[in-house]
Subunit: 302 residues, 2 copies
């Protein structure tokens, strides 16, 4: 089972409107709600691909209960910790041209609640073949929170993928995460280097096993102890890029479990990611497209 | 006590962002939630002005409970009917330049729930000195719903102010509402006349006692059985126009109770309305400004 940890879940609300025009009033044509947060999206993709997963995260308030209800309906296995802080919301306003996103920051958890969340993770680690810690931290969260999750996994001998940003990304590197998956902007923000390969090596020097950089439609670059590779989709895929990174993380975690070669992991990660762009919502992949893409992804040594 | 009925309440969520840019991702700087819906805003204003009120409306789901909690905190007296349909949300995205609104339509109530809401209104009418029915109807609501509220009030000898639009506005006129308060666009939509005075007379011909047209910064026009007047604020007031109409409705209902002259009612309605523009949130008025404005409003006979 691949255990995912989402430190800052959200109820993702999506509004369809005719056309977004700032300063005006819009009639919302349709409303969709779903359990959101990057780790939950990773679990969704794994579940859709038939891979056992367990989604762990804190929930609070009335939106936390809506989030739980959606996980139940989606049949994504989950273990949620009820906390005082109300679960945040994100709103995506979608018109024919664009998606415009509004992300609440999320409220701080108590230190004792982080301890309980760690206990929950530790209790499930014996069943886990890999752990994913994904997404932002609520405002005011101790910077070592991600690192503590990484340390717990390492203590249990479970490999870890971390997808986060800022100080938490640096802390996860220092704690020895097996794979980090920043995008180019997130990497630049923490390593102060314009060269992404040099930046990735900085994270490895801190303690990370490998760094997989996501470059949007340009694919992925892996900087590892075994070599460096770039993988590129065979053709551009149009659609909703929200959740593409989460599909890549799901594939990378699965690659860790399968102990497949880095070129094979990257091939899968690019195919899953592009197939997520083609699917209408985050946390979902277009499976027929995935199969078509998989063998056509170009992987080259750098 | 002035009884307000809100057929389609909403939890109003307000997001502060740096600058709204369509197609991008926004970090929400602050989040505010409050019980919304036009009738609830009318009750808020009355409560703030020290006038006894009772807010009646249906609530459902988790957002309905958030709405109730906010009414409790705000100390606005209320009597809510719990229904199956979940209470809707509206989202206002506010930056330095503009407010951009996203209004969910609201889910339909069962016919039996409308009957219960009417029973709740009838049970409180003996204590009421006026009734206000304000705001939209959820999608799929029988068009005579507002008219049934008007009829119940008339049966109890209680004067009624209605602020709604579309077929419900016509039905409220035919049911004999004492005062209707459309804005210019809402009037044009139902009477098919470019002349607002002629349009207002059409609503009176259907059965309405008086029509008060709101013209935004241009003030109000009243078309009544006793004459026609226009009232204009003495100077432009900058701020948030959301809720200005609700403050005008609150003043008009209070004028009905006090049986003041039409020029006095209009003077108060313009002053309350402008003082609501100056207040930061809908359902609130800037009381010192209100006092300053009140005597300076210009009222002229048409």
């Amino acid at each position: 089972m691949i255990l995912t940890v989402t430190p800052n879940p959200a109820l993702d609300v999506s509004y369809r409107v005719a056309r977004l025009a700032p300063g005006t009033t819009h009639r919302v044509r349709s409303v969709r709600e779903r359990a959101g947060g990057k780790g939950f999206n990773v679990s969704r993709v794994l579940h859709e691909m038939g891979i056992a997963t367990l989604a762990v995260g804190p929930v609070g308030g009335v939106l936390g209960e809506s989030l739980r209800a959606d996980l139940v309906v989606s049949e994504v296995p989950h273990a949620l910790l009820v906390v005082d802080a109300p679960t945040r919301m994100t709103v995506a306003v979608v018109d024919d041209d664009d998606a415009t996103l509004f992300n609440e920051a999320g409220a701080a958890l108590l230190d004792s609640e982080w301890d309980k969340l760690l206990d929950l993770v530790r209790a499930r680690l014996p069943e886990a073949s890999a752990l994913v810690c994904s997404g932002s931290l609520p405002l005011g969260t101790p910077e070592d929170t991600c690192a503590r999750v990484v340390a717990a996994a390492r203590d249990a001998g479970v490999p870890v993928v971390v997808d986060t940003s800022g100080p938490a990304l640096l802390a996860a590197a220092s704690a020895g995460a097996d794979v980090l998956k920043p995008n180019a902007a997130e990497l630049r923000e923490v390593v102060d280097s314009a060269d992404p390969l040099a930046g990735a090596e900085r994270l490895r020097a801190l303690g990370a096993g490998a760094v997989v950089l996501s470059l949007g439609p340009e694919g992925l670059v892996a900087v590892t102890g075994e070599g460096r590779w770039r993988a590129v989709p065979p053709f551009p895929v149009r659609g909703n890029p929200t959740g593409a990174g989460d599909a890549a993380v799901a594939a990378l975690a699965n690659g860790l479990v399968e102990q497949s070669s880095w070129p094979m992991r990257l091939r899968a990660a690019v195919a899953w990611s592009a197939a997520a762009v083609a699917a209408p919502v985050a946390g979902s992949v277009d499976v027929p497209l995935l199969r078509k893409l998989h063998d056509e992804v170009r992987v080259e040594t750098l």
